[in-house]
Structure formats: C-alpha cells, structure tokens
Symmetry: C2
C-alpha cells in the first residue's frame, strides 16, 4: 500500500529515485569496513525517501536538467537524514528503527556515534564536490537547526509548560529544516531564479512543519499495525507535542489535572500512555493538531502557485494532500 502510494506520488521522478536508491544502498566507500556495514544496514532498511524525492521534484519543477547534480544532492539529503536517525537512536535509546533493531542496539553506541559522524561528514564532502556554496549553506544551517532542536526537545522533556513557540521551534528544526534544504538544493541545482528558490525553500519549510504535526497527531491516533511503528512513543518518552500542549491549554481543568498527574509519573506506564491517548482523542486534540497541520500545508500549497502546471507540480501538491491523509 505504502509502496503503491509512493509510486503514484513520485511517478515523475521514479527513475531518478530508483537511481538514488541504488547509490545510497551501494557500498559506502570507506577504508573502515564496519562503517560500510552499518551504513548498508541503516540505508537498506526502507525509509520513505521523502527528502530525496522532494529534492528531485523541486529540481524537476524548476526545469532542471543537471540530473547528475540532482542525484548526488538527493543522496546527500538521505545521508544527512540517516545520520541524524542513527544519532537520535542513541539520544532516545531506541531499540527499534524502521521495524528492525536500531544500529545502536545492533552495534552499540560507539559504532553508532561514529557511523553517524561519518555519514554526515561524507555528505559534506559530496556538497563540497558539488560546489555550490548556497546549497552547502542550506544543508549546514539545517544541521545546526536539527541538533539545536533535538537538544531543545531534551530540555523540555516531561515539562508540560512548554510554550507553543518552543514546540514550533523544535519541529521546525527537527523536520522542516531538512525538508526545506532539500527543496532549496533541488531548485539551486536547476539554476532556478531567486524567487523560485525562495518559494521552494518556503514550501519545504511549511510542508515539514505540517508533516511533523501530523506525525505527532498519529502518535495518538494511529494503530501500531497501520503505522508500522509503536504508537504512544512520544508520551512514553516524555515528549510533550501539540496534541498535549493543545489539550493542556484549552481542555477542562479536570482533564488538565489528570494529564499532569499521569505525565508526572516516572516512568510513565503503559496504562498512563493509553489513558493519555484516550483523553486526547476524546477531547479531539488529535483533530485540532491536524487542523494546525493544515494551516501549514495550506501555506505550502500557496508556495506552489507561481509555478507552471505539470507532473512535478502535481506530485508536490499531491504530497501536501497526502501528508494530511497519511496514517502511516
């Protein structure tokens, strides 16, 4: 199902995406065999390749013809994403990733720290070889934003007083920054004029914020079988996301009291997680989250308006719609 949808969404760039897939799954060139092993494991374990797809579609939308550059940059986007996933699994002490034991569990934190560092550094090398400072800057800025966001998230862990602005800063850095850099990279590689580059940068940013809001809603709404990963994880890990922020700020006082009591338990038990998830659904804070996501997705759609109609634009527009509808 996921694959069929992806095929539909990514039809205009199917061949290019397959080539990116071949490249990222090819043996990473390194004299340290263990790195190649970890990279192959993590890069070979599925993943939706949303960031490479965004980059390729942005490139296509701007009429880009430098296929080689777009393919390399698309691989960079996935390398950077995977590098952060590997490090996040250390940060969250996650046992599973994409349905398999995480690299952290399989090889231990030492190898995981270094494998993440390697993939990130290799991505920078590829950006240097590509030779466009604007693209390098976009990805470097995204990485700074990602690490800041992860730390901010740790700082606000289990703290129900997190203001919406901080939450927004976290999801912007965590997800939207790299979406945005990928779109910008695709537009730059196409030699697009400045206003198109900016429009796509803005598109990626809003799409990413919407995407993460939906992700945060799904943690409360989804069933594990459909999502393909455990639900209720954010609650369990003490991450206070939009559905909870919204319910804490707008829900009845007695609901707030129950939430604070359950969120205050250390550790938060499975019963607490289920009770909190049920409250969020009962008070429609999940739907409020999707409505908030829609605000950003609406902005994303508006960023596409100036572009000429065609398969790439249709694909990106469908992606925006799909982000809201996805239940995986």
């Amino acid at each position: 199902m996921q694959t069929a949808l992806q095929a539909l969404l990514f039809a205009p760039i199917a061949e290019d995406l397959a080539e990116v897939e071949r490249r990222v799954q090819a043996t990473v060139q390194t004299r340290a065999p263990r790195i190649a092993e970890v990279a192959a494991y993590v890069l070979g374990s599925g993943g939706k390749r949303v960031r490479p797809a965004l980059l390729l579609l942005a490139h296509r939308l701007c009429g880009g013809t430098d296929r080689e550059a777009a393919l390399e940059l698309a691989a960079v986007a996935e390398y950077m994403h995977v590098a952060t996933l590997i490090h996040d699994d250390i940060v969250d002490n996650a046992a599973m990733r994409r349905g398999r034991p995480s690299a952290n569990i399989t090889w231990g934190p030492a190898v995981s720290v270094l494998a993440g560092d390697f993939l990130y550094a290799r991505a920078i090398q590829m950006l240097v070889a590509h030779g466009d400072f604007a693209v390098l800057k976009a990805f470097a800025d995204a990485t700074v934003a990602m690490t800041e966001a992860e730390i901010l998230e740790l700082c606000w862990e289990r703290n129900p007083d997190i203001p919406y602005e901080e939450y927004l800063a976290i999801i912007t850095g965590k997800t939207a920054a790299l979406f945005s850099a990928a779109c910008r990279g695709g537009a730059r590689a196409a030699g697009a004029p400045a206003e198109q580059v900016e429009a796509l940068t803005e598109f990626g940013l809003n799409l990413g914020i919407g995407f993460q809001l939906v992700d945060d809603a799904l943690d409360f709404m989804a069933h594990e079988e459909l999502l393909g990963k455990p639900v209720g994880n954010d609650v369990k890990e003490g991450k206070i996301t939009y559905p909870l922020i919204h319910l804490l700020q707008t829900g009845p006082a007695e609901v707030r009291d129950v939430l604070l009591k359950r969120l205050g338990r250390l550790p938060i038990g499975d019963g607490d997680v289920e009770a909190i998830r049920a409250l969020v659904r009962e008070h429609r804070a999940d739907e409020a989250t999707l409505a908030e996501a829609e605000r950003y997705l609406h902005k994303a759609r508006a960023c596409l308006t100036p572009f000429a109609d065609g398969p790439a634009k249709a694909s990106l527009a469908t992606m925006v719609d799909f982000v809201l509808q996805r239940r995986w």
Copy 2:
C-alpha cells in the same frame, strides 16, 4: 610549566591565540541553552590549542594579513577537535577529560552526541561563511578521515595482529588529518602559492603522525602526575599502539607470549597494564617509538626548509622539537 612553554612556543601569535581563546570561550550562539553550557564546559577546560596555533603560525609563515579569517579558521579547528573529543568520550566511555569529568559523564550520552554534532555543524557553517572551498574540503576530508580512523581503531581493538600500516592509517586519521587541515587552512587564508600550501599541508601531516606516536609512547613512559592524565589507558582500553606492535613483532618469543596472554585477558587488570608497560620499557619499545616519531618529525622539519627564516618558522621548528621532548 606547560603554560610557560606554550607562551614561548606561541610567542609570535600570542595575541591572536588569546583572541581565539576569547572567541571559543565566548558563549556559543544557539537557541538551545544546554548546548552553550556543554560547549562552554568543554572549551573552557584547558586544552593546548595546538590546532589553532598551527593554523595561526602557518598563516603568519605565509605572510598572511587577513587576521579576521585566520582567527575564525583557528576557532573552527578547535571546534572540530572538541567535537571529536566529546564524541570520543562516548566511544571510549571515558570518565575524565582534561582532568575533569567528561561531558559524557556530566550530561549523559544524549546531550553529548548532540553537543558534538552541533559544534561540528557550527564549524561547517563558519567555513561556509569563510567562503574558500579548498579550506572547506580540507576540513571535511579531515573529518571523514577522523571518523574512519576511530572506527578502524575500534575494529582492531584487542587484536595484536594489527599491521603497522593499519596503525599508521589510524593515527594519520585520528590526529594528523586535522593538524594538516589546520596548516593548510592557515596557508590558504594567507593566499599562499600552491607549493607553500602543499608544503604546510605535508608539514602538518608529518607533525601529527609524530605527535601521535609520541603520545602513544607516553602512555607507556610517562608518570601520571607529569602527564596530567592517567597513563596505561591505551593498554587498558585494548588499543594496540606502536610500542606494543613493535615489541610483538621484534621482541623475543617469550616476551610475545607473555604479552599475548596478558592482552588476552578480559578485562585487562591494573596488574596486567603495569606488567605490559614494564616490558615495553625494559625492551625499549618506548624508545623505538620515539625513534619512529623522529622519522616523521624529521620530514616535518624538511617541509619548512623553503620558507624564509623568521619568528613563525622558528616557532614551528621549535614545536617539532618540542613534540619529541614533551612529557605531558
């Protein structure tokens, strides 16, 4: 003592080095306060600032006048070094760093992973702002080499069959790559002609290899009080460095047998460490290591020959001598 020697060594760049010190110890600009805290802790805990000094001296040697660029790149070199130290402490599970509890112990691996990522990404941002692709490439290549070397080191851990070539690859990546990038960066920032840039790149590489060989010898030779850090650490952690490789390959069969037996114990006890260290000294494998270091330091000196005499050249030449003599 250390400070007096450093003052002498770094006299021509004393003011610039003090300015770098102010910059790296200034609050790191970030919206995640915890990052600034970790960065301040790690950057404020001493360190010899060898890499910034090399960069500034290389810049001076080539007649550079772009002080601002040199200062920024010197800070980059230290940020990159410190980022790898923070991650290394996770890799080695080190309790202490520069005489204080490591960041890994103080804040835990989650914050440490992210703080290292942040400092590295910030360094890349600064290199992008500097705007010289050749310098960016030098530092990006050094980072790839550093992560590869760290993984190689893990792969060869506790393995007495490690060939000299692999050991050389490890110390080259671990230490010499960043020394070399720092020297190259200084020369480039000075607008030096290609042959001077290459000479200083080569200088840094050989100095770094010599430096690490001496470091590895000191783990067997030094006293803890003088070195300011625990001795025998490499042996304890199962790192087979030059003194052991040399003794295993050239020592009498009975010494080899004793070494293999003691190195094979898990964990290697304090008694084993002291016995192994004593054997290395008894069979002068520590001195053989210094002789090997001298081969590289000799090459480093030769790289300076084409440059005109002056305070910067004298400083760099003294550094080479000092690397061999240092007992800290």
